[in-house]
């Protein structure tokens, strides 16, 4: 079922946290709300599930206006960051709790619990208390509880934040699998761009209560609307340089290197200051516009190695390379920028 936020506004006292936000999540789609802490992503999620009252605008599930409907009546499933399992109930009772509240018969509850437990692979754990489960198992129980009454929408609030690295990888694909299997419309709140990119159909990136851009992960990576978005996506992160457009090229101020830009940019921004963003994969030893610097840090990441190159004026460029080259910290290097993939932003940080 689609979710529509129409000019959704949320205040805490005098403070307007979210101002007239519009967001549409299509039926069966999984959308990530991505942003740093305090950007309003959890607030949005809590408003969708009805825990927070809305101060302005509408929230629609399908065509049904749920703005003033309590969370009890909204039919949403929520997985909380802390999982919020009821410590005094065993797993079966935790999962069956929403059905029990609806006064379904115990045989019916048991059948549905068994069915959902099968799907999230926790069949043998039904008699345990939450305290006797590992983090990943608790996560699966929370997911089962959220899904058991076939909610209209599934909301996930930082579901992987409390898990260790390997479990995170596993649960990432598990949640996506279950979401696909059930075809449920889902909203994932996260501050982790890898999670957002790997799990979701679309990402809505948020800052200061506003959605900056909403699009598919690869599109957002390649065509970020602003330097903020470009900086948020990608690991290791993009590097920025500031300089002037002259004679169809971006002039790197420290080395004087000339990096050609698209004709349109060269025309519209001639003589103006711009900010360019270079992703680590587009700063490589053997091609593009050469630029000189000193290797100031080397981070071996296993399959790849990250080099941080400091330019004479102290700015840095990052380079990620597949094979380990023999350079050492302190070596002078002359590597090239792939001008084709260089992102150019204007003074206000918007992509040109």
């Amino acid at each position: 079922m689609r979710i529509l936020l129409d000019k959704f506004t949320k205040n805490f006292g005098d403070l307007t946290v979210i101002d007239e936000m519009d967001l549409e999540v299509h039926d069966g789609e999984m959308v990530a709300l991505l942003g740093g802490s305090g950007c309003g992503k959890s607030t949005t999620l809590f408003a969708i599930c009805g825990i927070h009252k809305v101060n302005g605008g509408r929230i629609l599930f399908g065509d049904r206006d749920v703005t003033n409907i309590t969370s009890q009546e909204r039919n949403v499933g929520v997985v909380f960051q802390s999982f919020a399992l009821y410590p005094h109930m065993d797993v079966a009772h935790n999962i069956g709790f929403p059905l029990k509240l609806r006064k379904e018969t115990s045989t019916e509850i048991q059948r549905k619990v068994d069915e959902i437990a099968e799907m999230v692979h926790i069949g043998p754990l039904l008699k345990r208390r939450p305290g006797e489960l590992s983090g990943g198992q608790q996560q699966r129980v929370a997911l089962a509880r959220a899904l058991i009454r076939r909610p209209d929408v599934l909301l996930l609030d930082e579901p992987l934040a409390n898990l260790d690295a390997t479990l995170r990888l596993e649960m990432r694909s598990e949640i996506r699998r279950i979401q696909r299997e059930t075809g449920i419309t889902a909203v994932l709140v996260t501050h982790d761009q890898v999670e957002a990119m790997s799990m979701c159909d679309r990402i809505a990136i948020m800052d200061a209560g506003k959605i900056l851009q909403i699009t598919e992960p690869s599109d957002m990576y390649n065509n970020p609307v602003s330097d903020y978005v470009a900086g948020f996506l990608g690991s290791p992160p993009i590097s920025f340089l500031t300089g002037i457009i002259q004679n169809g090229s971006f002039i790197e101020p420290a080395t004087g290197a000339k990096i050609p830009v698209r004709k349109a940019i060269a025309g519209s921004h001639a003589g103006r200051e711009v900010r360019v963003g270079i992703r680590p994969e587009y700063y490589q030893p053997d091609k593009g516009v050469m630029i000189k610097g000193t290797v100031s840090m080397i981070e071996a990441q296993g399959r790849e190695t990250l080099y941080v190159v400091t330019l004479p004026d102290g700015n840095i460029l990052r380079s990620i390379q597949g094979s380990h080259s023999p350079v050492k910290i302190g070596d002078a290097v002359n590597w090239g920028i792939d001008a084709e993939h260089m992102l150019v932003f204007d003074k206000d940080g918007l992509l040109i």
């Binding site: 009821y86 005094h88 939450p130 509880r145």
Partner: protein, 435 residues
Amino acid sequence: MGNSKHLGLYLLAPAGIFVILFFLAPVILTGIFGFTNMSTATGITGGSYMVSESSMRPLRSHFGEEALADQLMQRVYTIDEAGLQAAAEAGGDAAAIRELEARFLGQSFDRRRDVEVAIKSLNARPSSTRAIKLISAEFERSVVNTRFDTPEEMLAAIAGFGIVLNNAQTEALVDVAYTGWTFTTQNFKTMLELPDTKKTLINTLFYVFATLILFNTGFALVLSISTHYMPSRPAGFFRSIWLLPRVTPPVLYVLMWKWLAWDTGFLSVILEPLGFAPRNWMLDTPANAWTFIILINGIVGASMGMLIFSSAIKAIPPALFHASEVDGATRRQQIWHIILPQLRWPILFITIYQTLSLLTSFEYILLATDGGPGGATEVWALSTYLKALSNYGGALQYGYGAALSLVLVVIGISVSLIYLKLFDFKNLTAPPKIE
């Protein structure tokens, strides 16, 4: 410095002394006193041996020695040196005394009249009856009301009056004549025999459980749960209001209730126009008295449970409330399925703590009804206090009171053990499994 490891002990010593003086010693002494017949009559130090009206009573009734008791109670009048001297000192006629010594020294009379006849027969007899009586009074000789430090002294004195006792009589006399306290289990027998005991016990159980269930846990839960769902400012306001009775001096607090209830008080004044005759509403009937007693105790007692439960509810992660809301739980279901199960441990704590404190506390009852009307609200602790420390007639039964309080201790411990069982204490205190 070398002794610094004992520093803690030194620092604790004052506390230790106070604990021993004001807690352990009284507890042990109560245990001991419970098995004695100590009272105002026996005193708390050792006693002496004395033939008296009261000690003869058991001799007659319990040992059936009517004749012996009459014999012991008899007075004789003997003209002896001591009597003559005392009469002289009392200001008796000197010539009369001298003649009395010369003619009657060593003679005994059964009645005072006979002595007086003897005095009147003297040549130097005093002129007034008053002067004769002054002299005759000094010759009265009897074991009655004379204190002897040992039984031997008493028996020797009795033998001096020519009263011969057999072994059984001696034993019985020594037994009844002892005025000090003795060890006995009579207190517990008395307790079982007296119909008051059962009534006091029922009163106590009613008082404790009615107050506990209605107020100390029940109303405390209502207060803490309802303030949990309020915005924080009004919630804090209501909680402080319910704390006020707790910080009011008990005497003033109960006095206000009395003003409310007595025959010219608030209730009487507002109910009179409605056709209810003014009366002391608190002491009017046992039901009224109980209503007031439970209200007075409960309104004070609810505040502690309220504080404990409120903070326990605050400690429940907000996510659990959010989760249950989106799971579809109404307020009522949330209270039943989320809050109450999480409050099991605080409820157990409050239940035990308040049961024990209600069992032993009687100050509000003492101040409000003093057990009335007609003992209807006399609870065990109050009864103990009245028996042992505040008897109207002034005859304080320390031993019986101590025995009563021993029973109270046993009741308290048994009730606590039952609670621990009921609430499954072992599971409650198992190490937490969720972080």
